[in-house]
């Protein structure tokens, strides 16, 4: 395992390249998820007619 991690002495370069790539991809995915959630909430708030009764998220009728 440590042989694998050392990458024949090039571990710093290889893992800095792969690590930062993984990090920025993770950041993009998290930001995308946050944006998706935020936009859905905003869409809910901007509904043409606000329903007075909020359906429980457990209520399957709300899905229909």
């Amino acid at each position: 395992m440590s042989i694998f991690l050392s990458m024949g002495g090039y571990g710093w370069y290889v893992w800095m390249a792969y690590g930062v790539t993984a990090l920025v991809i993770a950041v993009e995915l998290l930001m995308l998820r946050a944006r998706r959630r935020r936009t859905l909430v905003e869409a809910k708030l901007a509904e043409p007619e606000m329903p007075v009764t909020t359906r429980s998220s457990l209520d399957p009728a709300g899905m229909a």
Binding site: Y18, V24, R35, A43
Partner: protein, 249 residues
């Protein structure tokens, strides 16, 4: 056929289609990346000249290809948006920009960490590296212009114009930097002398390239869905979506 395509060109009808396609591209990307990384990092043998440092190629090259290809696709959608005034094409261009910038950053970053062990420097004013850096500035310019304009319809058109002007410039920038570099003869580095790659390395590179494609498509589809929801706020079809109805605010 044309009528058929214009049917899907409405944000309301594209939204569910994008939602159905995105998970498949995401799953394909994950599976391909997993196999590609396994082959690239574990199975493929150490390179005779570069040692294990060459393994950076498996993310560097796909990211660099993708960074340029996404700009071309953005330019294509921008041209459609200007020519046919279709809202969805502008949204597609908008959805691609952050991922394009991300790919450009990854290409630059991994290039630096590949360059250091192989040519002894993190950065050289090589034509490809310099053009890639300018490409990153172009992406950031498009994103900044988008953020600076409040009216989305104006932002669509302004960003389309800018993207197309940039697309004309990208090859000019590449050749100018290349020429500048040969005049100065500063960097004796030649990136073109790529080592002959074994079949197993080509396999890993191919898998990682496909994974990058899948990732970019999936992310762009998910982002375009968020953009559609942002832009269509208040439309009645939105409030009928199960994911909106299910929400308890």
């Amino acid at each position: 056929m044309a009528a058929h395509w214009f049917l899907y060109a409405s944000p309301a009808s594209f939204y569910p289609i994008a939602g159905r396609m995105a998970p498949w591209f995401a799953a394909a990307a994950a599976a391909l990346a997993l196999v590609g990384l396994w082959i690239g990092l574990v199975v493929a043998p150490t390179d005779a000249q570069q040692g294990d440092a060459y393994r950076i190629i498996f993310i560097h090259v796909p990211a660099a290809w993708m960074s340029m290809f996404i700009y071309l696709v953005m330019a294509f959608w921008s041209a459609l948006a200007l020519g046919y005034n279709t809202r969805l094409s502008a949204m597609m261009a908008q959805a691609l920009a952050p991922t394009g910038a991300l790919m450009t950053f990854i290409a630059l970053w991994t290039g630096a960490f590949w360059g250091r062990p192989t040519w002894g420097t993190y950065w050289a004013w090589d034509a490809r590296m310099t053009s890639e850096l300018i490409l990153l500035f172009l992406y950031l310019g498009v994103i900044a212009l988008r953020n600076g304009i409040d009216d989305p319809r104006r932002a669509d058109k302004a960003c389309s114009v800018l993207t197309l002007v940039g697309a004309v410039n990208v090859p000019i920038i590449y050749f100018s930097v290349k020429w500048w570099n040969t005049l100065h003869q500063g960097s004796t580095i030649s990136m073109t002398a790529a080592p002959k790659m074994a079949a197993i390395m080509v396999t890993a590179l191919g898998l990682m390239t496909l994974a990058t494609w899948g990732y970019a498509i999936a992310v762009a589809l998910i982002r375009v869905r968020a953009i559609i929801v942002e832009r269509e706020r208040g439309a009645s079809w939105l409030s009928h979506l199960p994911e909106v109805r299910r929400l308890v605010v």
